[in-house]
């Protein structure tokens, strides 16, 4: 599913974000990526959805060699990867429905199918009743659910979530985690970077710990392992 072999990433300013990372994530896995700020978690995630290219080494996602991908093929690979951010990244002037439908319009799905599928997904995240609200009329947790709905609407095989609960209170965070767990249960691989000790220690999954650009720990049903 996702495989990295001796991946290095050095930014133009000389910072070595990743130094020889090798890892394999299987279909239908749920993986936490933990580690101190600036350790390379975000770079690790960005490499998977081809926001960045590795300086050295190989990455394959769904059988595509991400590092050697031709520019015009990138969109087609991204359609199979859903991305969720800490700051939701919704379009402020569109309604919840439009924000989710947007992801399907972009891949030129027929309007009839869009309507059906968007309502389906909104129901899954529990926001069918608020489909016509704009992001500013929704709470943080609700906005993140819309972002998750947008990420899964095209049935991607993997979801990349970069600190999806970072801006939310504990109770709302749990709701989001239950949603992600549900999505994972339905067959989607989830890779989630987080600083939330409580979540990692309670909802036991595979844990990858990254420090100074290297994977220092890889445990099935692991713990958070840091004191902050």
């Amino acid at each position: 599913m996702i495989e990295m072999q001796d991946v290095w990433k050095t930014y133009p300013n000389g910072a070595h974000a990743l130094q020889g990372v090798s890892v394999k994530i299987n279909r239908n896995e749920f993986v936490y990526v933990v580690g101190p700020s600036g350790a390379g978690k975000s770079t690790f995630m960005k490499l998977i959805y081809r926001e960045e290219v590795p300086t050295k080494g190989q990455i394959s996602v769904n059988g595509f060699n991400i590092g050697k991908l031709k520019q015009r093929k990138i969109p087609y690979v991204r359609r199979n990867i859903g991305v969720v951010f800490q700051d939701y990244r919704l379009l402020p002037k569109l309604t919840a429905y439009e924000n989710v439908a947007f992801a399907m319009e972009v891949i030129e799905a027929p309007q009839r199918i869009i309507k059906k599928r968007v309502m389906e997904v909104l129901e899954l995240v529990g926001l069918k009743a608020k489909a016509n609200r704009e992001p500013s009329q929704l709470s943080g947790g609700e906005q993140q659910r819309i972002a998750i709905a947008r990420a899964i609407v095209n049935n991607p095989s993997v979801i990349i979530a970069d600190e999806p609960t970072g801006n939310l209170d504990p109770e709302t965070s749990w709701e989001i985690m239950q949603l992600l767990d549900e999505i994972n249960f339905r067959g989607t691989t989830i890779v989630m970077a987080t600083h939330n000790k409580e979540i990692v220690n309670t909802m036991r999954k595979r844990v990858l710990a990254i420090e100074r650009g290297q994977i220092v720990r890889d445990q099935l049903r692991g713990e958070y392992g840091y004191e902050f």
Partner: protein
């Protein structure tokens, strides 16, 4: 691309013009200002060109004959002038013809009392055209010299726009050249102005583009609505410009009709609307599209 997708791009492009509100107004305004200046210069150059052409073809030498010249002598002089190598044609204008011409250009009400047979004060004349406009002075001197050949001194007066013709040539040539340089410079300037305005529009929508890329939109899918937006802004801007120019020029033309010399030298709007309108609209749309394509290019790299 399916037809439905194409409609979506048109809709999105049009929608975002309204969504961007003042930014779109700024873009349209900058197009209007640049194209309007361009249009004024185009009108100026076109009119000066027409004037210069008219002057070119109008260079003729009016040779007025003395009243004592009879038909035989007149024919002799005609053949003398006709055989000069620089002369391309010669036309006899009798005093009656001369009066008719004058009536046509001035209107008969100005000439009341002069048009009767024995009241006509005009002399008989020859209108002599030369092959090369620059030789008028030389030919005119040659015609005047005929008086030395004949005892009757048949030539009363030889008239061509001495000096003025030459200076007119010089002035029109200069205005034409400066005009073209100005038009080219302004065209370039408006292009940069517009590309900058659209760049600001796109900067404001960086987030939207980022999200589109993230969910797997192809570059051409992202580019199309901006392309449509640029073209529409260009179209609206150029239509406003053309309207302003036509109304303004129409007013000017109407006002000029009260002045005899101006009325004849301005090109009527009917003769140039298609040309001028076409050029400005095509240019406006091209500038809009070019501006938006240039500005979006760098956001599509990642």
């Amino acid at each position: 691309m399916s037809f439905r997708t194409f409609l979506r791009h048109l809709r999105e492009g049009a929608k975002s013009i309204f969504r961007n509100g003042w930014m779109s107004v700024a873009s349209v305004t900058s197009i209007v200002v640049s194209l309007f200046i361009l249009g004024v210069f185009m009108l100026l150059v076109m009119n000066v060109n027409a004037l210069a052409d008219k002057a070119d073809s109008n260079v003729q030498i009016n040779t007025y004959l003395n009243l004592n010249v009879d038909e035989a002598l007149r024919e002799k002089i005609r053949s003398e002038i006709e055989t000069m190598p620089e002369v391309s044609s010669i036309k006899y204008v009798s005093k009656e013809d001369g009066m008719k011409e004058l009536e046509e250009s001035l209107g008969s009400e100005w000439l009341e009392g002069f048009s009767e047979e024995d009241q006509n004060p005009l002399p008989d004349a020859f209108e002599v055209s030369v092959i090369e406009p620059t030789t008028v002075g030389f030919v005119a001197d040659k015609i005047s010299a005929l008086n030395e050949k004949y005892a009757e001194e048949p030539i009363m007066r030889v008239k061509y726009g001495e000096g003025t013709v030459e200076t007119l040539f010089k002035i029109t040539r200069t205005v034409r050249n400066i005009g073209f340089i100005f038009v080219a410079g302004l065209g370039l300037m408006s292009m940069f102005l517009i590309s900058n305005t659209i760049r600001v529009t796109i900067l404001a929508r960086r987030r939207e583009i980022g999200i589109m890329k993230l969910v797997g939109a192809t570059n051409s899918f992202i580019r199309w609505p901006f392309f449509v937006e640029g073209a529409l802004i260009g179209l609206v801007g150029s239509i406003v410009t053309v309207t302003l120019l036509f109304v303004g020029y129409g007013r000017l033309y109407a006002a000029a009709q009260t002045d005899m010399t101006l009325a004849k030298s301005l090109i009527p709007l009917g003769d140039l609307w298609l040309w001028l309108g076409g050029i400005i609209i095509v240019l406006g749309v091209a500038i809009g599209v070019w501006g938006s394509t240039m500005s979006i290019r760098k956001f599509l790299k990642v």
